[in-house]
């Protein structure tokens, strides 16, 4: 097991170096240099230009710049935003909980509904229900989620306001404007609950509904498909027949005996959804004005705020690497065959 962990960790190092190279070259590949970008349309005094370049260390040889960039990144010094002049890392820390909260809710929805739908489809193989689940999940898989978000806004907010105003869902931000609660954890649901103020929790929850559905759709479809095929395989096994023959109730056979073994590949797929979630967060947060890191990145690109773009991409890539590493390690723990494979 120790050797497996070491081997797997050794793979992470070149990947991380590659990511830093990518993020580093980002700022050097843009047309013009960062000082010109900061100056925008204004004319730049050449002497001042050279001085700022020197101050930012941009006149040193590239390898030296990369070395210092790598050193600083490892110390979480990712520079400061051109626009707000705040450190990129502290901006990230402020916005990250919002993305985590949204992603966790979306994944929760996807796992619960996806597992259930997959299991039902597998048990009722070939039935209308099975075809329905598979059809829907293929549709979800093919869904342009930004359009799905717009449709939901149209039906659950715009039209609902006419049909049943009490059920209309909010479509922007994390909390109704009339509430103002102190951020303690950064997770709005927890903060709202801690505040104890009436209606705040309800408001926070209702703001989460539509974005979670939108963000959870693709993972849900993937999990449902995977659960179904994995379940179908397990249900054919001898030990399932034995369990049935022993006279166990069908529910017990399915949920206790079969599902546990069917879950192994499903867990991997769930782990792999983290990338999908972070990418989906960019779109979902843009549609619902959700103040997380996805919207932060897109805003930074449109403002040409390169330190934020550079830092954001580095952080998100690192997150994905770390999560994939954890999933692999967990998988090795569950499945000895992986651990001992070369």
């Amino acid at each position: 097991m120790f050797g497996f962990i070491l081997r797997r960790l050794a793979l992470v190092v070149p990947t991380f170096v590659g990511i830093t190279l990518l993020a580093f070259s980002l700022i050097h590949l843009i047309p013009g240099d960062p000082v010109q970008v900061m100056a925008g349309e204004r004319r730049l005094d050449p002497a001042f230009h050279a001085e700022v370049l020197h101050r930012l260390g941009l006149d040193r040889p590239l390898w030296e710049q990369y070395g210092s960039y790598l050193w600083k990144s490892l110390h979480l010094d990712l520079g400061e935003s051109f626009v707000t002049h705040e450190a990129v890392w502290s901006e990230f820390l402020k916005l990250f909980p919002a993305t985590v909260e949204l992603s966790v809710c979306a994944l929760f929805l996807a796992v619960v509904v996806g597992l259930l739908a997959g299991v039902i489809a597998a048990i009722k193989r070939g039935s209308v229900l099975d075809h329905g689940v598979m059809g829907l999940s293929l549709t979800g898989f093919s869904m342009p989620i930004f359009w799905w978000g717009l449709l939901l806004i149209m039906f659950c907010s715009v039209y609902m306001r006419e049909w049943a105003p009490a059920w209309a869902l909010p479509v922007s931000g994390r909390l109704a404007l009339e509430f103002d609660i102190a951020p303690r954890t950064g997770f709005m649901l927890i903060d709202a609950w801690l505040s104890g103020e009436e209606g705040v929790f309800r408001s926070a929850l209702s703001h989460l509904v539509l974005p979670s559905i939108v963000l959870g759709t693709i993972p849900l479809a993937v999990i449902a498909r995977m659960t179904r095929s994995s379940m179908l395989e397990v249900l054919r096994e001898d030990y399932v027949r034995t369990a049935k023959a022993k006279g166990l109730s069908p529910a017990r056979v399915v949920f206790v005996h079969a599902l546990r073994n069917a879950l192994v590949p499903v867990i991997t797929v769930i782990g792999l959804q983290v990338g999908t979630l972070l990418a989906g967060a960019v779109l979902t947060e843009t549609i619902f004005s959700w103040p997380g890191i996805g919207k932060w990145l897109i805003d930074a690109i449109s403002r040409r705020d390169y330190p934020v773009v550079q830092g954001g991409i580095l952080i998100i890539a690192t997150l994905v690497i770390v999560v994939n590493l954890l999933v692999d390690l967990m998988y090795g723990l569950v499945n000895p065959r992986i651990r001992h494979a070369k």
Binding site: L11, T15, L22, W147, L151, V158, G275
Partner: protein
């Protein structure tokens, strides 16, 4: 190229041709056939856009802003699916948009598949370079594809060409890994060794001997890559990083649609429906292709 695995032949004297065999296998999947029909329809729309589109894609009818579709109240038969906020015919824009989306998919798949196959084969036949190639692909796979595409566009600048390039770059690793994995398993087979003993050069071995037998999974991946390219391009367009207005790209058409959600649902509905139907059709087709071309992959996914 015989990508089809031999199946039980009928009682007849001559075995069915591989194409007929493929079609028999493919046509048992009704969803796949339906997908194929829809896909052919979309291609027809794209090719015939000049002929069948009632209006020009960027012509603005200033006296008919936000006209509803013809069946709705206030609609006119002049604009079958209505007009957008600056009076452009939605149907015509969708038809020309089909042309763009298919082109994006086609170019992106070609630009990722060809280098991907070459790199994958190189990694198999030249193990020393191979390690470097595979590490590089790992780095690229670490970022979710949409984010990597966003990063690439952030460097190259927004636009249709850069969108295609970004999507192609992002998709390269999957082909590299696929071709490497399947060519590695071919490498030790008798026919390859025989060919090598017969004096075939490395390039002949790579492209003539081994590659054709790795094509089945590549074709399946290319199909799914096609639909993925359309989705990613639309997402980039929606974010304002893809094709720029007034280009009638489906995602770009949705970028400003949020403002009209309360007044003009057709501006929101139709472009998204076009994306969904096209992508769904290609994915259905891909499922059928996978089952027909490569029964081994049936179990996966």
């Amino acid at each position: 190229m015989s990508a089809v695995l031999p199946t039980d032949t009928a009682a007849g004297a001559t075995p069915p041709s591989s194409l007929a065999d493929f079609w028999r296998s493919f046509s048992t999947n009704k969803g796949a056939v339906a997908g194929l029909f829809v896909f052919v329809f979309v291609i027809a729309c794209a090719l015939l856009a000049d002929v069948i589109a009632p209006h020009d894609a960027i012509e603005q009818y200033r006296d008919a802003l936000l006209t509803p579709p013809m069946w709705a109240e206030g609609g006119s038969s002049k604009f079958i699916l209505g007009t957008d906020d600056i009076g452009r015919d939605v149907l015509s824009r969708l038809l020309f948009g089909a042309r763009l989306s298919l082109m994006i998919g086609f170019v992106a798949v070609l630009l990722s598949m060809l280098p991907g196959m070459a790199l994958g084969l190189t990694a198999t036949f030249f193990p020393r370079i191979g390690v470097a190639i595979l590490r590089l692909m790992d780095v690229m796979l670490a970022l979710p594809s949409l984010l990597l595409a966003i990063a690439v566009v952030a460097v190259l600048g927004p636009g249709l060409l850069n969108t295609m390039l970004a999507i192609a770059i992002v998709a390269v690793p999957s082909y590299v890994r696929l071709v490497r994995a399947s060519s590695m398993s071919e490498l030790t087979k008798d026919y390859v060794i025989a060919s090598r003993l017969a004096g075939a050069g490395t390039f002949r071995l790579m492209f003539n001997t081994v590659l054709p037998n790795c094509m089945a999974p590549v074709i399946v991946t290319a199909t799914l890559g096609f639909s993925d390219a359309i989705l990613t391009a639309a997402a980039l367009g929606f974010l304002g990083l893809g094709a720029q207005p007034p280009t009638p790209e489906w995602g770009t058409m949705l970028a400003s649609a949020r403002d009209y959600i309360e007044r003009a649902n057709w501006v929101v509905t139709f472009p998204g429906l076009a994306i969904l139907i096209t992508v769904l059709a290609i994915n259905l087709m891909g499922d059928g292709l996978r089952d027909a071309l490569d029964p081994r992959m049936k179990k996966l996914s």
